[in-house]
Structures are given as C-alpha cells and as structure tokens.
Amino acid sequence: MKPATTQQPLRTGDATRSANVRTGLILGSIALVFFGGVVYAHYAGESTLGMSVLGFAIVGFLAVAIGRNLRQ
C-alpha cells in the first residue's frame, strides 16, 4: 500500500453516516430474522425448510454485499 502525501476527504459526514446506518440496519435485520426464524421454524414444525431458506438468504446477502464492494 502506498499512502501518498496528498490527503483526500472521504464522503461528507452525513453521507457516510447514512451509509453506516443503512448497512447497520441491514445487518441487524439479518440477525433478528435469523433469531426469530430459528425459533419460529421449530414452533411451526418446519425446521428444515425454515433453516434452509434463512441459510440461503444469508449466504446470498454475503455474496451480494462483498460482490458490490469488490471492484470499488
């Protein structure tokens, strides 16, 4: 890595803060859905299906999130 002597500002504070909140809310909602989903799946008696759907959802999110950032 080569830090140059010229320094550039990031995005504006508000834009960064909004992006942070958006990312945080998405991640938090994944955790909440996973927590509720595991309990509900067992409560409803469809544990295998429920866990599979949630599992694919989270792996999909992971792939999309990293993929979008990969070329930035």
Partner: protein
Amino acid sequence: MSSIPHDRVADPAAGHGYGHDDHAHHPSGIMRWITTTNHKDIGTLYLWFSFIMFIAGGCLALTIRTELFQPGLQIVEPEFFNSLTTLHGLIMIFGAIMPAAVGFANWQVPLMIGAPDMAFARMNNWSFWLLPFAASLLIGSFFVPGGAAAGGWTLYAPLSVEAGMGMDLTIFAVHIMGASSIMGSINIITTILNLRAPGMTLMKMPLFVWTWLITAYLLIAVMPVLAGAVTMLLTDRHFGTSFFNAAGGGDPVMFQHIFWFFGHPEVYIMILPSFGIVSTIIPTFSRKPLFGYASMVYATSSIAILSFIVWAHHMFTVGMPAAGQLFFMYATMLIAIPTGVKVFNWLATMWRGSMTFETPMLFAIGFIFLFTMGGFTGLVLAITPVDIQLQDTYYVVAHFHYVLVAGSLFAFFGGVYYWIPKWAGRMYNETLGKWHFWLSMIFFNITFFPMHFLGLAGMPRRVPDYAVQFTDWNQVATVGAFGFGLSQLVFLYVVLDCIRNGKPAPARPWEGADTLEWTLPSPAPYHTFETPPHVA
C-alpha cells in the same frame, strides 16, 4: 502488496499529518474507560478483559488438572467437577478468545484501513460494557443454589432443561455475550465496507482485515441461532414449551443440530482472526510480500462457507442415515483443502525470505506447527468410524486444544508482541518474550500431547476419576498444565514491563512491516486518520 515508500510519508517522529493528539480532550480516570468511544481505548478494554477471563478460565483448568493428577476423588465433588469443565469451556470461548479477537479488531481494523474510528462508536462502547455483566453472571452462577451449569459448554438438552438455577444465569450470559458479539460484528463490517481510505479496494486490504470481515459475517449468521436455541431452552425450562422435551413431542437431538449449526462456525470465528494475525506477522519477518494474497482471501471465504455444512460431524454417534454420515464426513475433509492452501502460502512466504526470529515470528511459526497438528487430528476425527471410537475421549480434548490454544492463543500472543510497540509506544523485552514463547511451547506440548495417548487408550473426557492405567500420562499432563499456566505470568510481566519501562519504540520497529498503522507515530495518537490517507 508492496511496502510503504517511506520517503513519501511525513517524518513519523515529528508527528505527521495522519495522527492528531493535540485535541485529545477526553475524561480522565475511570470515567475515561467507562464513557470512551475511542476504538483504541475499547480495544485495550477488550484485551485486558480477555486476559482476566483467560486467567479465570485457566484457574478452573488447573483445578481440573489437579483433580486428575491421580485416580480417585481428591479435591472436588463430581458435580462440581462437571461445573468446572462447563465453565472452563464457556469462559475461555466467550470470555477469553472471542473478546481478545474483537480487541485486536478494535485496535487494528481502523488503523489498517485508514479509518478515523469504528462506524458506530457509541455502540462499540456498549458492546464491550455488556461483557463484564455477562461474565459476572457466569462466574456468579457458582454461588447460586444447585451450582453452576454442569452439562458441558454445549448445554445439551435434556440435561440443561432439568438443571438448576445456574443454567438460567448461563442462558442469560450467553444471550448478553451474543448480543455483544452481534453489535461488534455489525460495527466491524460497517467500518470495513464504508470507512476504508480512498484507494483501498477490498483486494488491497491487509489480510487481517479480510479475515475479520469474514469472521464478522459468520458471527451475524450464527450467534442468533445460538440465541434462538437457548431461548427455546429457557421456554422449555420455565414456560411449558416442549421444543426439546421428547415427552411433550419435542426432539432433544434437534438441540444438538441447532447448537452445532452455531458451534462449528464458532470454531472458525475463533481461528480466522488468528489466521489474519499470522498472515500479517510472517511477511513482516520474512521481508517478503504474502505469497498468494488472493488465494488466501478465497481460502478464508471457502472455509467460512464450508463451516456451515459440516456441523453434524460433532454428532456422528447420535445416529443418522449412512448418506448423512458420508456427506458430513466428506464435507469436513473438504475444509482441509483451503486450510492447506493457507499453510502452503505461509510456508511459501517464508521460503527464501530474509527471516529473523523475533518473538512475534516465533509465535507465528509455533502456530503453524501446532495448528497443523491439530488440523491433522481433526481430519482423523472427521472419519466417521474412527470418530465413533474416539467420541468423547481425551483424543478430542487434545485435538481442540491444539487448534484453539496453540491456534488462537499463540496467534494472539504473537499479535500482542507484534503490535504492542504501536499501542504502548514502547518496546517489550525481547529476551523475556522468547522465554515466554519457549516455555509456552514446551509446556503446552507436555500438557496436551499425552492426551492423544489417553484418548486412543479409551479415557473418557469430563470425568473426575479414571482407571489406574491412565495415571502416568495424566500426571505428565497436570505437570505440563501448571508449567503452562505459570508461563503466562511471564507474559503478564513482559506486558507490564513494556508499558512502564520499555524503550521508546520508533514509528516502524519492524523492518518488513508495510501496513498503514506503521505510518503513524508510536504510540498511535488518540485520534488518527481524521483526514484519510490516499492509498495508491
């Protein structure tokens, strides 16, 4: 990744533009630590907390080893012995290893990506301060009627459904620590995705940051599953549900499935940050770029994804169809491929490098040696018919201590020695650091290598008494355990001596270090990278 051209960075000794300490207005005394939102302060809190819990969990381990010094019951009752093994596991995993990894992330991730702090600074404070309360619940459970949880750190139903009040405290502690981990993970992912310095693409990030990004995703995926499992346990215990109660139509085996859906990725949650630390140390002291950077990233991702589909190898003896056994056996063996890629890349990085063997490098090499041994015994245990023979024997205890003590712990020690000049602004005593390494290395092997023999001979784990034929190796293991425990006092002395009396550290004490934190003066100023550097 190439080295930082130091003629292009302002004079560190003069306090260049990336570090700003002149406006570090913050409370002093204890209020500084309680109210802090600074990632460096919080990283320090995490690291000291984890060391205290490491000592607490270590004391439980030494009590276990004392009881096992000879056959028969000596110093503790069998029920209390079960509580010791349970709490030793919970404290070491949730109180020592995981917080230590988060401590490293707090200190290093913002510094390595050129961010001014973590994305959610107040939540960062909250994430840490939940932990002492959870730890108090865990340790306090020893003093409630019925004693602490005694069903093993896995909290298997139906034993945990029928246990005393200590189990309730453990469940609440797990909930709190889980919430702390999830908040910490959200913070780390958001910081890495949104606050990287201009020019630092994902594929330019130091590998430590990559491993933590993937670890944080794993945490968000599996900690809610554990929380769900223990919530169902709680409702089974107190609210009349029958999730895991066969008499009420529930399924106790389902608890094991859910637990290990969390539990196996948890193993990688504990080891991936260590991979990142080792991947930082080895190129530095080999004075070469990391061999196969991209393949390291893909190997780490592969390990994380595979960790979701191998959980049932922990429960071959529970009973499952042959197709299930074969699937989980082969899937588990598949993990050896990306892990092998990593080990190969570390060795290839060292190959023909200008290597020197300072303490961080010794711990990194020790890590590779011992973790590879633990990995091999893991492959042995992945073979279903072998696992059925070795299930719940000391062979398993030896295996996971080689992975987690020699793996996680050795890498963390290496990480502390590597970064403490930047944290404290002072150099540690190299001679004592090497003493710490060699004592730890020797006593670790004296403690845990004989456990392979004990397990192969059939000694079961989690028992306070054993057949006389196992005495000799148990005595060796106990002597080794006390030696290993006392060796950690050397580490404590080295750290305290470094903070108080160490020689001033230069901005870049390691010749081969090339990540952004080394462009800052030592110690790193309270506020850093408020104006981000541009990474070419």
